[in-house]
Symmetry: C2
Subunit: 355 residues, 2 copies
Amino acid sequence: MSSKSEEVPFGRRGTGKPTINDVARLSGVSKKTVSRVINRSPLLNDETRRRVLEVISDLGYVPNPQARALALRTNFLIGLIHDNPNAQMVLNVQQGILEALQGTDFEMIVRPVDRGSAAMLDDVRHFLERQRLYGVILLPPISENDALARLCDEVGCRYVRMGSAELDDPDHMVASNDREAVRGATAYLIEQGHRSIGLIAGPHGFRSATERRQGFEDALAEAKIKLPRSLIAEGNYTFASGLAAAEKLLDLSPRPTAIFASNDEMGAAVVHAARQRGIDVPEQLSVIGFDDTPISAHIWPPLTTVRWPIVSMARSAALKLLVSVGGAEAEADVSEPSMFLSTLVKRASVTPPKT
Amino acid sequence: MSSKSEEVPFGRRGTGKPTINDVARLSGVSKKTVSRVINRSPLLNDETRRRVLEVISDLGYVPNPQARALALRTNFLIGLIHDNPNAQMVLNVQQGILEALQGTDFEMIVRPVDRGSAAMLDDVRHFLERQRLYGVILLPPISENDALARLCDEVGCRYVRMGSAELDDPDHMVASNDREAVRGATAYLIEQGHRSIGLIAGPHGFRSATERRQGFEDALAEAKIKLPRSLIAEGNYTFASGLAAAEKLLDLSPRPTAIFASNDEMGAAVVHAARQRGIDVPEQLSVIGFDDTPISAHIWPPLTTVRWPIVSMARSAALKLLVSVGGAEAEADVSEPSMFLSTLVKRASVTPPKT
DNA sequence: TTGTAAGCGTTATCAT
DNA sequence: ATGATAACGCTTACAA
């Protein structure tokens, strides 16, 4: 009986910020109508909309995200879920996502997870259920986990997976053609005259590792080159593991004249290991990496590598998530691409072998 | 009159998740009492608290963050505001923050800003006002902007600044002793016998650049070495700028026998530039960097550098923000340190000069 | 096309 | 120490 707060002239309470009520009162319509304007409802008199928009802009009114989140049962947040050890990759992805979110009401929230942990799925479930994210982007390698994708579905959270191959339908996936890209890179090595080529593969169980390895083998098969198993070493995408793998390969005799490393970190490690034992790159050893992260350009010699369009992929992933916002119009957009092509970046770490 | 929803046995509506009402009903108390339990109110009968906690755990009840955010007018989010170009640094900071947030109800939200833009302060103000963050962490170099700190105060948002020197009171600051650390690094070069030492300074207007440069000059002054201005080049902390600066220094004749670069990116660039012109590091040129980011250990030769305890600093910064949560007890905690010491990491890029 | 009333799930006020 | 009731600022049902 007591409070008729609508009577208060303006922005009652200390906060000072105008609410939907202020807008409604000042433009002489109901809250609901203002809400319709905010949410771009199509069934609205143009004149009404205009008037409300004017008041909104006069007042500098901005809808309160917390209140919307409560009412809509969904937050205006895009989550990035990852267990990727590579700083540069994670940051590139963040950059891509943020570019997509630019100018929208969405913000990005980052959630690293522990792939090893048995509780990982439960952790993510709790996270998603609590935060009610609008959607999440799954980075490799965790993005390869099908159970995780199913989990997102279950809790009703939109998701897009990033990966090295199509492991989901196009609406839920942005993929690159790693296999083909590595085939091309290896073929380039063969063209240059290399016949004894080492491979530092990615870790067992990673889709990207498999794809890249297959691309490597595709190229060899095409050229009818048969290589001993000993020319394949395995790393886990870290510099340290690359160092160990490189040492194994460089101890071989005869030594390979070229090495393809499944990512730049390990490629840089090959160069490092070679220098350490006085082997000149590229004169005595050609090296190719993968990712085109800054380190590949910064070491000496600059590393020939496969450019992985990670920023564009991440941007696209985020845009796929946002497709369903803005009510009507957004759906009509040309849909975001789902396949991205990686390309070979030729630098100084490859030359024909000297015999 | 119509809805007596309290009668519904359990988790009405589709969502299925128990609410505070379910807990209240099942434990035979009011919502407010449950709320008190959740918020660790001290004035609560122990027996009541116990009973409620039991029901909470039986039900697997978790308070809805969106509703709390609306009622409390503050989100359970910690923001990271930065305009730092260095991927590794940003990611280290994220790691530190996330470590601190581990096990709490808080999540991290990342907000890059554009230092150059005139609208920067307004952007941040809108961001803070809309999102109602619990607190933000300001990374250098934007953390050096006093107007930004004042803005946080104004909109009632807790903040902690990270920086290379104390630019705020301890509650709002975690700092490192860059000046002293660089003085030590330079002294080490002098000890080794170097007398002609180049400096690649950070960009004008950056506090970290000033601090590091002063440390450099402190050491020279101590050793009574007077160097020509030409031995000081300026970069902007990027690899490319480091390359340009290195070229300038290496063109000098006589050439310096050592170079201190104000960060690792530029230090790596020095090594890169040296190799490019056939100058051996460290035999003909010693190099020291700053930060101890992975690149310093990954290039050849591994770079002697100053280890900046950035992860710990970020963790501490986040903990400072959280000090005021948990009602009563947290305040009593030993307060987080505000000063962090950087230390010299000796690797292979420094030797005595050959004359 | 627009408005009314009833939530969304929590906390604050002010009793008792 | 605890509870009834009114916010918090927005959206959805359902009318009109």
